[in-house]
């Protein structure tokens, strides 16, 4: 039986993980390699590295780091951030990424998904969508959630899947950072609209939120979070154990 995936997301800037982390036993809490190893040992099913660097030097550093992570950790790695062209796909795949997540790059150039899926396969292309309710309609936001594109989200996601996106990361801006639970209403709409795996993001504050997510929406394949894992508010090992006790299939 396929298991539900738990995925920590790490923001990397100039080769370092940003947002303070607080783990005992880690000599360097902002080293992507150390943190990646830590999460992998805790039972994370996949890692997402998000490059939030703006400069080209930072980008170079990111690929060096990615290589180092990919040569020490043997679980799937997804890379996002600054992916605008096929060359960007190529750059991170050569460094050991398994999947590449596109967001603003696909909004600027919707053909990117099609081209990338054709070259690297659907399984390689993840469409990440930042979605927010505006006057009761789900709208796609670009530039890290700062800019309303005016596009209706479900249509946009469906189009992405038709073009070859093999997975969807749905990040609800409405619930992100609030720690009140995942956006079940938004997730359900997306799950009903597409047949590819959907990864829930935004809103997780505790273990119960993950239980509720997978119990209410069995179609959701994975839960992604950042700070609650980084700050140790939710420990992946405990989370997976509790999910298992609640009858949710997980890899332990």
């Amino acid at each position: 039986m396929i298991t539900k995936r738990i995925i920590p997301c790490l923001d990397v800037k100039n080769g370092r993980v940003v947002k303070g982390v607080n783990f005992e036993g880690l000599s360097d809490v902002s080293s992507p390699v150390e943190l990646g190893k830590y999460y992998s040992e805790c039972g994370a099913d996949e890692l997402v590295f998000y490059d939030i660097t703006a400069s080209s030097e930072g980008r170079k550093l990111f690929t060096d780091i990615l290589k180092e992570v990919a040569s020490t950790i043997f679980i799937p790695l997804t890379v996002g951030g600054g992916i605008n062209t096929l060359d960007d796909f190529d750059r991170v795949l050569k460094c050991g990424a398994d999947k590449v997540s596109v967001n603003s790059g696909a909004i600027k150039n919707p053909d990117l998904i099609y081209q990338a899926a054709k070259r690297y396969g659907d399984q390689c292309v993840v469409l990440s969508a930042d979605v927010k309710r505006v006057d009761g309609v789900f709208r796609v936001f670009a530039k890290g959630g700062r800019e309303n594109t005016g596009m209706e989200a479900i249509e946009w996601i469906k189009r992405g899947v038709d073009n070859g996106a093999g997975e969807i990361v749905l990040n609800s801006i409405d619930t992100d950072g609030v720690k009140g639970g995942f956006d079940l209403e938004m997730l359900e709409k997306v799950c009903n609209a597409v047949s590819v795996p959907v990864i829930a993001s935004g809103g997780a504050g505790n273990v119960e939120h993950f239980i509720k997510l997978f119990k209410t929406l069995p179609k959701v394949d994975a839960g992604l979070a950042a700070s609650i894992f980084h700050f140790g508010e939710v420990k992946i090992k405990d989370l997976k154990q509790t999910l298992k006790e609640n009858g949710i299939p997980v890899r332990i």
């Binding site: 039986m1 396929i2 298991t3 995936r5 992998s40 099913d45 290589k67 990919a70 040569s71 020490t72 043997f74 679980i75 799937p76 795949l93 050569k94 460094c95 050991g96 398994d98 690297y120 396969g121 659907d122 399984q123 390689c124 093999g166 997975e167 047949s195 590819v196 795996p197 394949d221 994975a222 890899r251």
Partner: protein, 203 residues
């Protein structure tokens, strides 16, 4: 030394790294002399069967791999590399494979229930056939490995050494003599995957 056949399909970085992690000398190469000298061969692959088969045959690497396998050298196909070991595939048309494993590659949609998502992607548990094959000697029944595929090995029951349940029992691994294949990615399956590669190296 392990030769990872590089025929221009997919990225071999993780595969090379995973052998390094278990202390085994492995090289990604298209050099036929190196492949001939290697103790064991890995046939990797991602993407579509037709493209990959075309590259493998037109480069002459297909003939070499078959010849080496027939001489008794251990060969491990991974993911699409496993599928290429079969006689043929029905992925977008009909394509010829290496015919080292009897059977064919068919869409998983034919055997799984409608409400199951395609591709079969994520961590799934292995169920071994009895007796447990040597490449699983360090594993326990129910160990998890990472899958990403939309097609599967069919009509190959005499070669199946492990299955994974996804609405149906899908072929997870095959073996016929010195020829092995994993539908999943050992190089992406954490410690469990490394243990499989280690056991393969010890054959």
């Amino acid at each position: 030394m392990i030769a990872i056949v590089d025929y221009g399909v997919g990225n071999l970085f993780s595969l090379v790294s995973s052998f390094k992690a278990i202390g085994i000398d492995a090289v990604a190469t298209s050099d036929k002399e190196i492949i001939k000298k290697a103790d064991k061969i890995i046939l990797p692959g991602v993407g579509a069967f037709g493209d990959a088969a075309e590259k493998l045959f037109s480069s002459g690497l297909a003939d070499l791999v078959v010849e080496q396998a027939k001489s008794g050298k251990p060969l491990l196909g991974i993911c699409l590399g496993m599928q290429l070991l079969f006689e043929k595939s029905f992925e977008y048309g009909e394509h010829k494979g290496l015919s080292l494993i009897k059977g064919e590659i068919r869409p998983i949609a034919e055997v799984i229930p409608n409400d199951y998502k395609i591709p079969h992607i994520g961590w799934n548990a292995l169920k071994f056939k009895n007796p447990k094959n040597e490449i699983f000697k360090y594993l326990n029944d129910g160990d998890f490995v990472y899958f990403v595929h939309s097609f599967y090995g069919a009509n190959c029951s005499d070669s199946v050494i492990a299955t994974a349940e996804y609405g149906a029992y899908l072929t997870a691994a095959v073996a016929k003599g010195n020829v092995y294949g994993c539908q999943f990615h050992p190089e992406k399956s954490g410690e469990v995957g490394l243990k499989i590669l280690k056991a393969f190296c010890e054959l």
